[in-house]
């Protein structure tokens, strides 16, 4: 029995009001979703598992209709889905009243339920979010009903506020496959058994790395899955170690050549680390303007040798300043203050 497992499709994700995601990214989620439907048809999978957050927010009726239309185009597939924390079942949610196509099973209950898939001897367990946050570990003990069925758990969560769980909760469980969603990074928590599908496509720039879906097959209670990436959009983290000797143009050229080699669907997120000349800091804005660069995070520090400065300016205000700040509890603010103060004191 073949299946596809997707999660966190975030249909209708707004482009963060111009902050995190570009306008064009908006349609990636729909494109990717339709692509998965196509693949499910081509591969003739029997089950399509959607582990929550199909929509970025409350779905609109027209969106549900569109999705339902897509589902109904699958002649050989039964779809099982749950609502996640983003598209949770609010009392006014359009999910509440929507009637799905014959082949769609929406596990709408707030408590664990299961659906028996006709002709597949399979039961899919799961439940939907009825609120935005659930901090109880509801996946810890799931009772599996008697019977010779292939049992699948469809779940959503994994962090503190969204049904936390541990790997151990599932290692010995009798489920043949546990399909999770919510965490955007795809990972096989337990190989071939407990899988976090990850976002189908990145939702914002912090979702770096490959995204896609898992396709698998269960035979005689043995499951095997593989990750299949989709390339509508991918964010790549590029860490650049800067030193005072590197000029702006050299840096720019390096980034440009690096990006030249990359495929077009990749978008870059540059992080500048290391030390820069305090007189001539890196112009992050210029790097931001390079094509395919989505974000530049400047974490450069001026190249100060605090130990040497402390020796040199021992009892003077500079030396005392460095020591005073180093003695404070270290956090982002004190770290920054150390640099700012030294910079101000050293300035001509």
């Amino acid at each position: 029995m073949k299946f596809i497992h997707i999660a966190d499709i975030h249909l209708g994700a707004e482009p963060g009001r111009g902050r995190t995601i570009g306008e064009e990214n908006r349609s990636y989620s729909w494109q990717a979703f339709k692509e998965v439907i196509n693949r499910a048809r081509q591969e003739q999978v029997q089950i399509l598992l959607i582990a929550g957050d199909l929509f970025h927010r409350q779905p609109l009726v027209r969106e549900l209709k569109e999705v339902n239309a897509q589902f109904s185009m699958l002649p050989q597939t039964q779809v099982v889905l749950i609502a996640g924390n983003r598209d949770y079942l609010a009392p006014e949610s359009c999910y509440q009243t929507f009637s799905w196509a014959e082949n769609v099973h929406f596990l709408k209950q707030e408590r664990m339920e299961y659906v028996e898939l006709e002709g597949l001897d399979t039961r899919v367990y799961g439940f939907s979010y009825w609120r935005r946050e659930i901090s109880e570990p509801l996946y810890q003990e799931v009772n599996i009903k008697e019977g010779d069925y292939c049992n699948i758990l469809l779940g959503h969560g994994g962090d503190e506020k969204h049904i936390p769980f541990q790997t151990n909760d599932f290692v010995k469980s009798a489920f043949d496959y546990v399909a999770f969603g919510h965490i955007h990074k795809p990972v096989e928590i337990v190989k071939n058994k407990v899988v976090m599908a990850g976002a189908l496509q990145p939702v914002d720039c912090s979702d770096t790395g490959e995204h896609g879906y898992f396709q698998g097959e269960i035979k005689d209670h043995v499951c095997e899955v593989k990750f299949i990436p989709l390339h509508f959009c991918e964010y790549v983290s590029l860490n650049l170690k800067v030193s005072p000797e590197i000029t702006q143009s050299a840096l720019r050229e390096y980034v440009t050549t690096r990006i030249c080699m990359a495929p077009k669907y990749q978008k870059f997120r540059l992080t500048l680390k290391g030390f820069c000349d305090e007189e001539h800091p890196v112009d992050a804005e210029q790097l931001r303007n390079i094509e395919q660069v989505e974000q530049v995070i400047d974490k450069c520090r001026a190249d100060y040798d605090f130990e040497k400065l402390k020796l040199q300016y021992g009892q003077q205000i500079l030396g005392r300043y460095i020591r005073t700040l180093e003695e404070m509890p270290q956090n982002e603010v004190t770290k920054k203050a150390l640099y700012y103060g030294v910079e101000a004191l050293m300035a001509e």
Binding site: R57, Q58, A90, E92, Q316, I317, R320, E332
Partner: protein, 548 residues
């Protein structure tokens, strides 16, 4: 630092002078106009250089004051000195067109660079202003210059062991404040942008809310409208009055029964006539008795009449029966068709209406659901937008960091300031105590760097004490401060007619104190009494006599 030799080629009114001072106290004696001040200027000029100034300052410019009018090209000289026991030779040409300076370590012949700051390093980082305000005490300048307060203040801030006094704290604080301001401005911009977005969302929200309200009221209106029936929908019960028909039929039935009844009576009459007529004919001879004949005739008449009545009533009854049946059938048919018609019409219209209504309602419902979902989403988005962005948080941190840096600098400078000030006050008090034989032993500075002296629980300002004490206070301040500026090796001290206002006793005390100092001292005077007191007290000193 000890000056070991002064070589003046041409400097003001001094030409070709070669002097070798002692490492301790030196008295330079000369009458007025013999070049004592020129010599001092030469020493400071050698140590810190001398710049020609233009503009209005030129009037007071020492360069012009000392530039020899006859041979400016040889406006130059040399000086030998030791620092930390190492001998150095410094030569300068002060002429502005050929300005040059050379510095040689005489021990190993190594050439040092004045431009690169080697000399400044040898002077322990002492700056000209600081020197002129401390070690170099000029005639009629006992009171420190006003800028000295600033120098002192800055000094206290920068000061500490081995300081090179390069750090400009006020500048640093200002820079931090400026940067903080810039960060705040950017933060405000970010915030404003976000608030604009929130406003926009609010607007969208209110529009949505209105839409929902409208949809709801539409829905309600429709529900009210529906039960109040359409006039077309009222079903006309029947064309004819049922009751009337019933009554009519009832009457007809009665009539029919009447006819039947009469018919039966007629049958009875006819049969009575017939039977009695036959009996009469058989038992009586009719021809014989006209009575019987008449009876027979009557009976015949009765029979015929009854027969006729039967025919008549029966026919009537039949007609009526037919009519009734016909009417009944008609009525039945009418009722059926009418009701069927009506039913059909009703069902049709109703279902059409119903469908229409249902469609409208479904549409409303859907729109309502849609709008409600949109509203939830919008509110959620608003909540998200109301949270500070990453950029804002970063800026907030930056602002906090700038604040922390600024506060820390302030606190530290206060600490150092107080430390150094206390130190200076102690040194000054000690010097004053020695000079006044313990009469005044506590001298301090207020926040404006003004001197105060403590006497019997009273704080006295310099002008509240005698001229002599006042001058002793300033000397103590200068010596004390000078000692702080260079702790490693003190600079040569220049005293120019400083003690003119001191009486014999006080001068003696000061000179005794000077004699105990380790540093090199140049005491310029136009009086012989300093030398006399020194000799009387057996204090060793170098004597340099200047003459016209």
């Amino acid at each position: 630092m000890k000056i070991t030799e002064i070589q003046i080629k041409n400097f003001g009114k001094l030409h070709n002078i070669n002097v070798r001072p002692l490492p301790g106290l030196n008295v330079i004696y000369g009458e007025n106009e013999t070049g004592k001040s020129t010599m001092q200027q030469f020493i400071t000029g050698m140590l810190f250089g001398m710049d020609k100034q233009g503009g209005s300052l030129a009037k007071n410019d020492r360069y012009q004051q000392y530039e020899p009018w006859d041979s400016s090209s040889s406006f130059s000289g040399g000086m030998k000195f030791t620092v930390g026991g190492k001998p150095f030779f410094l030569e300068r040409n002060f002429y502005h067109k050929q300005k040059s300076a050379s510095l040689v370590n005489e021990m190993d012949g190594e050439k040092l660079s004045v431009e690169q700051g080697d000399l400044e390093m040898l002077l322990g980082g002492m700056k000209k202003t600081a020197y002129e305000n401390t070690y170099c005490i000029r005639q009629a300048e006992v009171e420190t210059k006003e800028e000295f307060a600033e120098v002192l203040q800055n000094y206290f801030i920068n000061a500490s062991a081995g300081s090179d006094g390069d750090i400009d704290l006020t500048g640093a604080s200002r820079r931090l404040q400026e940067k903080k301001k810039a960060a705040q401005q950017r933060y405000r911009q970010e915030e404003e942008m976000r608030n604009e977005t929130v406003e926009k969302l609010r607007l969208e929200e209110s529009i949505l809310e209105k839409d929902i309200e409208q949809l709801q009221s539409q829905q309600k209106e429709d529900f009210v409208d529906f039960p109040g029936q359409d006039p077309n929908m009222i079903i006309p019960e029947r064309d004819t009055n049922q009751m009337a028909e019933y009554l009519r039929d009832l009457r007809l039935k009665k009539k029919q029964q009447g006819y039947l009844w009469r018919c039966a009576v007629s049958v009875l009459t006819a049969s009575v006539g017939f039977i009695f007529g036959i009996l009469n004919a058989q038992h009586h001879s009719l021809q014989e008795n006209p009575g019987w004949m008449a009876l027979e005739l009557f009976l015949l008449f009765l029979f015929l009449g009854g027969l006729g009545g039967v025919c008549h009533w029966f026919q009537k009854e039949r007609r009526l029966r037919k009519l009734r049946r016909q009417q009944q059938e008609e009525a039945k048919e009418l009722t059926i068709t009418a009701s069927r018609d009506m039913e059909w019409k009703r069902v049709h219209v109703e279902s059409e209406k119903q469908a229409k209504h249902q469609a409208v309602e479904a549409l409303l419902q859907e729109q309502l659901a849609e709008k409600r979902a949109m509203l939830i989403n919008l509110r959620e988005e608003m909540e998200e937008v109301q949270e500070a962005t990453e950029q804002e948080r970063e800026l907030e941190q930056q602002i906090q960091a700038y604040d922390l840096a600024y506060q820390t600098l302030q606190t530290l400078s206060q600490d150092i300031y107080h430390d150094t000030r206390n130190q200076l006050e102690q040194v000054m008090s000690q010097i004053l105590a020695e000079m006044t034989h313990g009469k005044y032993d506590t001298i301090g500075l207020d926040d404006q760097m003004n001197l105060m002296v403590q006497k019997e629980d009273r704080s006295l300002r310099p002008w509240q004490v005698s001229q002599g004490v006042m001058e002793q206070m300033y000397v103590a301040l200068r010596f004390g401060a000078g000692g702080m500026f260079t702790q490693e090796e003190s600079m040569p001290i220049i005293l120019d007619e400083v003690f003119a206002a001191f009486d014999e006793k006080r001068l003696e005390a000061v000179l005794q104190w000077l004699g105990r100092q380790k540093g090199q001292i140049f005491l310029f005077t136009c009086q012989r009494r300093e030398m006399e007191i020194l000799e009387r007290n057996h204090i060793p000193y170098g004597k340099i006599m200047l003459s016209r």
